[in-house]
């Protein structure tokens, strides 16, 4: 039963991203062509809400749901992995117009060809797993 609440969060996530059209290739293309504020508005509003929320959680020392431990971790510092990995992801994002969340959401939308993208993504993660220790991080 613990998983039900996450399943519901997932449903809301899928509905919001579809209705926001953040799962649309056209919206991503429009964003990277700097021809619309829509995607920038979504991302910056989400970050603004997130920053405010995290500050409140930290300041008020809010306890997690049913005693869950709230983990707000700092990320390890580096340049290479974030720039190289980030740029690779960005190339894929700009090309097929979806990030990992939308890949799942688009299956539900009935865009069957997204399964090829999913297979490609699993292949990419698999190859990364093999090469991980040989790559600069």
């Amino acid at each position: 039963m613990k998983l039900v609440k996450f399943f519901i969060v997932g449903i809301v996530f899928g509905i919001v991203l579809t209705k926001a059209e953040a799962v649309s290739w056209y919206r991503i293309y429009e964003m990277f062509m700097f021809q619309s504020f829509h995607m920038y508005g979504i991302i910056s509003t989400a970050i603004f809400v997130g920053v405010c929320g995290i500050i409140i959680i930290k300041k008020k020392e809010i306890q997690g749901f049913k005693g869950a431990e709230i983990k707000i971790q700092d990320k390890d510092f580096s340049y290479s992995r974030y720039i190289i990995g980030g740029t690779m992801f960005g190339l894929g994002w700009g090309l097929v117009g979806c990030c990992p969340g939308p890949i799942f959401i688009l299956i539900g939308n009935g865009v069957l060809s997204i399964l090829v993208v999913l297979i490609g993504a699993l292949l990419g993660t698999y190859i990364y797993g093999i090469l991980k220790n040989k790559l600069p991080h």
Partner: protein, 188 residues
């Protein structure tokens, strides 16, 4: 109903996405969808062969539940909450540049047929463009340690410099794709 059936305003959408991230934080988890690619790999033969996949994916059941929920959410939104004649009102300039590249315009679809139609998937070029795009996403996100949800939303909300570097990378890659790769692949 009309408000729901059209495109949701960016402020409402962004607010809800921020809220989803905070709800997960409150549940003691960290918002990050790309981890699910690793989780799926570790459910296969990869777990025994490769150290990176050798972890107990059952600990990640919560995240897999989100991904499954996201599929259902996509279905609900697309089949019950969408008037396909009133969505994707994109910039006329974008329409013009798409037409120049012989890419079909939205007309209620989420993605162009030249990329996502089933006929296209069964061509060599069509198949490999989608596979290659997916490969870059799948290789790039674990390398960078996160995607749009993990870095741009969760990471930046916690004011993480590494996430800012990653997001700069995301945009660098995306700009190269939109301005050079797509014209190269689709332009005549």
């Amino acid at each position: 109903m009309e408000v729901i059936q059209g495109t949701w305003h960016w402020a409402i959408s962004g607010f809800l996405i921020g809220l989803i991230m905070l709800v997960l934080t409150y549940f003691g988890k960290t918002f990050g969808m790309s981890s699910n690619l690793r989780n799926i790999c570790s459910m296969t033969f990869a777990k025994k062969k490769i150290e990176y996949f050798d972890f107990d994916w059952k600990e990640q059941k919560w995240n897999i539940s989100i991904a499954l929920g996201a599929i259902v959410g996509g279905f609900i939104a697309s089949y019950f909450l969408m008037d396909h004649t009133r969505v994707l009102q994109i910039n006329p300039k974008t329409i013009a540049s798409l037409q120049q590249l012989n890419i079909d315009v939205p007309n209620g679809k989420l993605g162009p047929d030249v990329l996502f139609s089933l006929e296209n998937v069964f061509t060599l070029k069509g198949f490999f463009v989608l596979l290659f795009g997916g490969f870059l996403i799948g290789f790039g996100t674990p390398y960078a340690g996160g995607c749009t949800s993990g870095h741009a939303i969760s990471g930046l909300s916690n004011l993480q410099i590494p996430s800012l570097i990653a997001v700069i990378g995301f945009f660098l890659g995306g700009l190269i794709s939109a301005h050079f790769l797509i014209p190269l692949i689709f332009g005549s």
